[in-house]
C-alpha cells in the first residue's frame, strides 16, 4: 500500500485516496474550436509512462482535495506532491 503525501494532510495510506489519472490534462478553454482529432486526443490519449509520472490523486477519505503526485511507475517511489493548479516543480522532473 502506497504512502501518499497529501499536500494538505501529510502522509496517509493509499486506502484514503482515489486515483485521478494523469496530471496536467487541462480541459480545453473552448472545446468547440477543437478538431475531432484534437478533442479525441484530449479525451482518450494518455502517456503510459514507464518511469517518472505525474498523476492526480484525491484524498477522498480525508480533506477531499485533488492534488498531484510524481511517482516512478517502475518502483512506486513517490518523488513528491504539489497542489492542483501548481506547475510541476523542477525538482520533481
Amino acid at each position: 500500500m502506497l504512502l501518499i503525501p497529501c499536500p494538505y494532510c501529510g502522509e496517509r495510506p493509499e486506502l484514503e485516496f482515489r486515483y485521478g489519472g494523469q496530471a496536467h490534462i487541462a480541459r480545453p478553454e473552448n472545446p468547440a474550436a477543437l478538431s475531432e482529432e484534437d478533442w479525441a486526443g484530449f479525451l482518450y490519449m494518455r502517456d503510459n509512462e514507464k518511469g517518472v509520472h505525474a498523476e492526480r490523486w484525491r484524498h477522498v477519505h480525508g480533506c477531499a482535495r485533488f492534488f498531484n503526485v510524481v511517482r516512478d511507475t517502475t518502483t512506486d517511489r513517490i518523488l513528491g506532491s504539489y497542489k492542483a493548479g501548481e506547475t510541476r516543480p523542477e525538482t520533481l522532473r
Binding site: 502506497l2 480541459r27 472545446p31 468547440a32 479525451l43 484525491r58 518502483t75 512506486d76 513517490i78
Partner: protein
C-alpha cells in the same frame, strides 16, 4: 515403540511432555516441541504423502517451510480441516489428528499410482497435447478425471468457525528472521531506542543456531547466546518479538504483511484468541535475515521416502532427537553435508558412504569425517535409487572431470542425504522489487540494488560464515536504526563453504527411462524441462508455466535454482542469460481468513439502511441490495409471490395512492453565487432561467458525451440547488463535480455538500396523493396551480421542516417529501396513517421499475450502458442547445455521435401480446439468418404491465425511432424466435394528463 527412533537425550523437545496424536488413524506419540514431521520420523513413519501428478510415494524432504512433499491435512473438527499444511511446520499437540492427501483408498495402496506407470502419457504440458480427442471429451471426461486424480487436500465444507484479527503496526526497524544475522540486527537496532519488530516463522527463535551445538558465540555455546540475546530483547519495551509469524508479503513503501499463527499449535485454543493475526507493518527500515535454503540434487529417482536434505536430517537429530534412518548415504557438493553426516554418526546412524561430488575436496569437515571413520569417495555421484515405499538402496558411481560416469555400485540404505549447496532466501527482497545479482562463486542469486528501505544480512545475502553473518546483521541493524555501529562477534565455528551444484547430476542410465525430479510438489522433472527447451520454449517464464516448475504451493523454494541450472545446460546459456522468474506474495500459503479478518458475514461490507427500514421489516418487505443499500423490493401480503405483489402495488398507485421510500437517492446541495453557472457547465440542461421553487430533470454526461447520471434538480434560491442523483451514482457524481470545481474552475464560488444521508425521501404517488397530504402540511399550497408538476416548496409536514417536491417517477400525480432523516420514519408513519382511508399501499423498487417503464422513463445503468447519448435515450429536449459549453457537449457533435443509425430508445410489444421478453435479449430483422446474425439492438427492460394488461419492453435499437411500426424478432435458444413490434417508448398516458393532474 514410539521412541525407537529417538536419541537418548538432547534436542529442544520436552521429553517430560508426551503428546498423543494420530496420522491416518494410527495412534502415535511425540513430545512437546516436535513438529508433525519430527514426530513421524521418531515413530519410523517415512511414507507421508502421494505426489501431485504421478501419485509417487513421498516422504519428508526438509525441516521447514520449503517442504514440497510432506503436505497433510490437520483436522480439529468437521469445520476445522486445514489442507496442504507442511508437516515440517505443524507443531503437534495432544490429540492432533492428521491425514495424508492425494491417495485413494489408502496411502500404502493408492489406485492413482497407475499414473506413475503411464507417465510417458503425461509429459510436460500433456494437457495441451494428449487428451485432445475426441473433441468435447476434454470438458466432460478428461478434465474432471484429471482434476480428481491430481491435486492436494480438500477444502473443508461449511464456513470457517475461527476468528481472524488484523492490526496495523509501525516501527523504525522490522527484522525478518531470527537466526544469527536477525538476532544481531535486532540487538543493534534496539540499542537505538526505536521501535523494533522481530518476526520468525518458527515457534522458536534462533534460526540455524537452534540446532547448532558445535559453534560458540562470544565464548558461549550458540544456544546460550541465543537465549541470552532473546532475554535481552524481551526486556526492552520497544521491542516486539513475534515467533510463529511469517512475513509473507513485501508491498510498496515498506508495507509488509505478517501472519501470526496464534492458536494452531494449541490442543485447546483459548476462545478469546483469534486463530491468526494479520500484522500490517509499515516499517521505516527492514532488515531481511531470512537465511538460505538447501538445494536438493537432481538425479534419477531422487524423490523416494528416505531421501532428505542433509541440513534437515541434521535438524531432526540435533533439534528434535529424531533419527531419520538406520543406514545412511550422504551425497554432497559442499562441506555442510558433512556436518549432518557427523551428527547422524554420533547419534548412532551408520554412514554407509559419503559421495562427494567434488573431485578434490579438502578442509576441516572432511578431516573430521575421516577421523570419525566415514568412508568418503570424492568425484562420486548418485545415479539412482530403489525402494518403493521407502528408500532401499542407492547407486553410486565415479565421475571424471568431463562428466563421464562409471564404476557403478549399489549400496543398501534407508536414508540418503542431499547437500546441493545453498540458495539465499531472497523472496521478500525480490517482492520489494529489489534486483538480484548472480554470484558466480556462490552459484546463487544474491540481493543487488534495492529501491525500498531494505537491507539484507546473513545467509539471505549469501554470507554463510557464522561470524560474518552476525557482523553483517549487526551493522545492518545499526544502519537501519540510523547509526553506524559495528561489532565483531568472536565465534568458534567451522568455516562456511560455498560449494554447490546447479543442474542435473550425470548418470549412466537410459535418459528416456529415468526421471529426476526438479519440482517435487508439481512432479516436474529434468526431462520435462529439457523437453520444453526442445519444443522451442526459450523464456524461463514460459518454461516455468509450461512445465509448472516452481508453481506449486512452495513457489519453487527448492526447485527454482535446479531448474535454472538445467535450462542453462539445455540452452547452452549462462545462468544470468537464462533469466529469473518472479517471486510474488505470499512467501508461504496464507489463509483466506487472514486476509478477510473480521470482514465477513454482516461485517463484509457496510450496510446502509433507510430511515424507514424498521417499518418495512415490520410490514414483511422483501429487500434487495442496491449498492450498499437495503431497499424494500416489494411488500407481499399473505400468500403473494413477487408477481402478485407487484401487480397489486402498481394498480394501487394508478387507482389510489402508493407510498415509496426514495431515501437512497443521492442528494448534493450546490450552493454559492456561481451555483447556476456551475450547474450550466456540469449538466446538459440550462439552469439560468429556472425559477426559484421550480425543478428540472437534469442529465449529466461524461466528457465523452455519454450519459453518466440523471436526477431531478430543484432550485431553492438563486444561489442554492437541491440536486438529486441516482442511488448508485451519488459518490461518482460528487467526485466528478468536485474534480471540475477544484481543478478546472477553481474561480467559481460554489460549494458542494453531500446531503444523501441527511434527507429521508417519502414518495407519495397516485391520484389520491394530494388528498392524503393536504391535512398534514403547513405553509404549502398543494393545489395544481400553486404547486404544479416540477415545482417545489418549503414548509412543514407533521410539524417537521420539509422540502416538498411535486415530482413523479410513476406518471401519476406525485409528491416527494424530503424531511430530515431522523424524522423519516415518524413522518412516513403519519402519512401512511393519513392514507389508510384512501387505501394507501406501500410499494417497493420492483413496482417502481414497472411504473416508470410504463411511462418510458429511463433508469441510468439499465437503459444506458456508458455508450448512450441524450439523443439515443430520446432526451434531446433536455439539452440546452444555446449553451456555449457543458461537460460532454463537444463530444455530442463528433460525427459518430450523430449517426442516424445509432441505437435509440424504443418500446417493444410482443406480437402475441402474451410473451414477456427476457431483459438482455438481442433483436434481429431476420430470424432465419444463420449465426452469427446481424444484431440490431437489445432489450433493456421488460415487464408485464399491470396497467395495460400486456407485456411491455424498452430496447435500444439501431435507428430505432425510424422503425416505429416495424416487426422485428428476438431469437431464443433452440431456434425459436419471438416477433416484436417497435413502438414509441411511452406506453401509458403519453399525453401526461395524469401527471399534471
Amino acid at each position: 515403540m514410539s521412541d525407537a527412533f529417538r536419541t537418548a537425550s538432547g534436542g529442544r523437545i520436552d521429553r517430560a511432555r508426551r503428546l498423543a496424536f494420530t496420522f491416518d488413524g494410527r495412534a502415535l506419540t511425540g513430545f512437546a516441541g516436535d513438529t508433525l514431521a519430527s514426530a513421524l520420523i521418531a515413530n519410523g513413519v517415512h511414507l507421508v504423502g502421494r505426489s501431485f501428478k504421478y501419485h509417487r510415494p513421498r516422504g519428508i524432504m526438509s525441516a521447514g517451510s520449503d517442504e514440497p512433499n510432506a503436505l497433510v491435512t490437520v483436522i480439529r473438527d468437521r469445520a476445522r480441516q486445514a489442507p496442504n499444511l507442511r508437516a515440517t511446520q505443524v507443531e503437534i499437540y495432544e490429540g492432533l489428528t492428521a491425514i495424508s492427501q492425494n491417495r485413494w483408498p489408502s496411502l500404502d495402496f493408492d489406485i492413482g499410482g497407475i499414473n506413475d506407470r503411464v507417465s510417458p502419457l503425461l509429459p510436460a504440458g500433456f494437457y495441451y497435447k494428449t487428451f485432445m480427442w475426441p473433441r468435447g471429451f476434454w470438458e466432460k471426461v478428461y478434465e474432471p478425471r484429471i482434476r480428481a486424480a491430481a491435486g492436494l487436500g480438500r477444502v473443508p465444507e461449511g464456513p470457517d468457525p475461527d476468528r481472524y484479527l488484523q492490526r496495523n503496526a509501525h516501527c523504525e526497524v522490522l527484522v525478518i528472521g531470527s537466526g544469527p544475522a536477525g538476532l544481531a540486527a535486532a540487538l543493534a537496532a534496539a540499542e537505538s531506542g526505536g521501535r523494533v519488530i522481530l518476526c520468525d516463522e518458527q515457534n522458536e527463535m534462533g534460526g540455524s543456531l537452534i540446532a547448532d551445538h558445535t559453534s560458540s558465540i562470544a565464548g558461549k555455546p550458540a544456544a546460550v547466546w541465543v537465549a541470552e540475546t532473546l532475554a535481552q530483547l524481551t526486556a526492552m519495551p520497544r521491542v516486539t518479538l513475534l515467533p510463529r509469524t511469517t512475513a509473507f508479503g513485501y508491498y510498496p513503501h515498506n508495507h509488509l504483511g505478517l501472519v501470526e499463527r496464534v492458536t494452531d499449535h494449541l490442543a485447546t485454543p483459548d476462545p478469546g484468541q483469534p486463530r491468526e493475526r494479520l500484522w500490517q507493518v509499515r516499517a521505516k527500515e527492514v532488515v531481511l535475515a531470512s537465511g538460505a535454503i538447501e538445494r536438493p540434487l537432481t538425479f534419477p529417482d531422487n524423490d523416494r521416502p528416505g531421501i532428505m536434505l542433509a541440513d534437515a536430517a541434521h535438524a531432526y537429530v540435533t533439534r528434535y532427537g529424531a533419527i531419520p534412518g538406520g543406514r545412511a548415504v550422504l551425497a554432497t557438493a559442499n562441506d555442510s553435508g558433512y556436518r549432518a553426516a557427523l551428527a547422524l554418526h554420533e547419534a548412532g546412524v551408520e554412514i554407509a558412504a559419503v559421495a562427494d561430488l567434488r573431485q578434490a575436496p579438502s578442509g576441516d569437515w572432511l578431516d573430521a569425517a575421516r577421523r570419525a571413520g566415514l568412508l568418503v569417495e570424492t568425484g562420486a555421484t548418485v545415479t539412482g535409487t530403489t525402494g518403493r515405499m521407502r528408500l532401499a538402496s542407492v547407486s553410486l558411481a565415479r565421475v571424471d572431470g568431463e562428466g563421464g560416469v562409471g564404476g557403478t555400485r549399489e549400496i543398501g540404505c534407508d536414508l540418503l542425504l542431499m547437500a546441493g549447496g545453498w540458495t539465499p532466501s531472497v523472496h521478500l527482497f525480490s517482492q520489494s522489487l529489489g534486483k538480484l545479482r548472480f554470484d558466480e562463486t556462490l552459484q546463487a542469486y544474491v540481493p543487488g540494488a534495492a529501491p525500498q528501505r531494505i537491507r539484507v544480512a546473513g545467509a539471505a545475502a549469501g554470507i554463510y560464515d557464522l561470524g560474518s553473518a552476525l557482523d553483517s546483521g549487526f551493522s545492518a541493524g545499526a544502519a537501519a536504526a540510523g547509526g553506524d555501529g559495528k561489532r565483531n562477534f568472536v565465534v568458534v565455528a567451522a568455516a562456511a563453504d560455498t560449494g554447490s551444484v546447479l543442474g542435473s547430476l550425470p548418470h549412466d542410465r537410459d535418459p528416456t527411462k529415468v526421471r529426476a525430479f526438479v519440482d517435487f510438489q508439481n512432479d516436474s522433472t529434468a526431462k520435462d524441462l529439457k523437453l520444453a527447451v526442445r519444443e522451442g520454449f526459450r523464456s524461463v517464464e514460459h518454461v516455468k508455466r509450461y512445465t509448472t516448475t516452481g508453481m506449486a504451493t512452495d513457489q519453487g523454494k527448492t526447485s527454482n535454482m535446479p531448474m535454472l541450472g538445467i535450462l542453462s545446460e539445455a540452452q547452452g546459456k549462462t545462468i544470468p542469460e537464462v533469466g529469473f522468474t518472479t517471486f510474488r506474495p505470499p512467501y508461504t500459503p496464507t489463509t483466506f481468513g487472514n486476509f478477510a479478518g473480521t470482514a465477513r458475514g454482516e461485517q463484509f461490507d457496510p450496510v446502509r439502511r433507510t430511515p424507514t427500514h424498521a417499518w418495512a421489516v415490520s410490514q414483511g418487505a422483501v429487500f434487495e441490495d442496491v449498492g450498499l443499500w437495503k431497499r424494500a423490493r416489494y411488500f407481499p401480503q399473505r400468500g403473494e409471490d413477487m408477481h402478485a405483489a407487484v401487480l397489486r402495488e402498481c394498480r394501487a398507485v394508478r387507482a389510489g395512492v402508493g407510498i415509496f421510500d426514495g431515501s437512497t437517492l443521492g442528494k448534493i446541495e450546490v450552493v454559492g453565487p456561481d451555483a447556476a453557472e456551475f450547474m450550466n457547465r456540469m449538466y446538459v440542461n440550462p439552469w439560468t432561467k429556472l425559477g426559484t421553487g421550480r425543478c428540472r430533470y437534469g442529465i449529466m454526461l461524461r466528457e465523452d458525451g455519454f450519459v453518466m447520471d440523471d436526477g431531478v434538480v430543484g432550485r431553492l434560491a438563486p444561489d442554492r440547488f437541491h440536486v438529486t442523483t441516482t442511488t448508485g451514482g451519488a459518490a461518482a457524481v460528487l467526485n466528478m463535480m468536485e474534480d471540475y470545481l477544484q481543478t478546472e474552475w477553481p474561480d467559481l464560488r460554489v460549494w458542494l455538500t453531500s446531503a444523501t444521508e441527511q434527507w429521508a425521501v417519502i414518495a407519495v404517488q397516485g391520484p389520491a396523493a394530494r388528498a392524503v397530504l393536504e391535512p398534514l402540511v403547513e405553509g404549502i399550497d398543494l393545489s395544481a396551480v400553486a404547486l404544479p408538476h416540477m415545482a417545489l416548496a418549503e414548509g412543514t409536514i407533521c410539524g417537521v421542516p420539509t422540502r416538498l417536491f411535486r415530482v413523479s417517477f410513476t406518471g401519476e400525480l406525485g409528491f416527494e417529501i424530503n424531511v430530515p432523516s431522523d424524522y423519516g420514519q415518524a413522518v412516513w408513519e403519519a402519512v401512511y396513517a393519513a392514507g389508510i382511508p384512501h387505501g394507501i399501499t406501500p410499494y417497493g423498487t420492483e413496482s417502481m421499475h414497472v411504473l416508470r417503464a410504463e411511462k418510458g422513463f429511463i433508469i441510468v445503468g439499465q437503459e444506458t450502458d456508458g455508450t448512450v447519448t441524450p439523443d439515443d435515450a430520446g432526451l434531446t429536449w433536455a439539452v440546452g442547445k444555446a449553451k456555449p459549453d457543458f461537460v460532454g457537449k463537444r463530444s455530442l457533435s463528433r460525427s459518430g455521435m450523430m449517426d442516424a443509425n445509432r441505437k435509440q430508445l424504443v418500446g417493444l410489444m410482443s406480437a402475441d401480446n402474451v410473451t414477456v421478453l427476457e431483459e438482455g435479449v438481442q433483436i434481429v430483422a431476420d430470424p432465419n439468418q444463420p449465426v452469427p446474425m446481424s444484431v440490431l439492438g437489445h432489450v433493456t427492460s421488460s415487464y408485464l404491465s399491470p396497467s395495460l394488461g400486456h407485456p411491455i419492453a424498452l430496447a435500444l435499437l439501431a435507428g430505432g425511432r425510424a422503425r416505429h411500426g416495424e416487426t422485428l424478432h428476438v431469437p431464443m435458444p433452440g431456434g425459436r424466435s419471438i416477433a416484436v413490434q417497435v413502438v414509441p417508448p411511452v406506453f401509458y398516458d403519453p399525453e401526461g394528463t395524469r401527471l399534471n393532474g
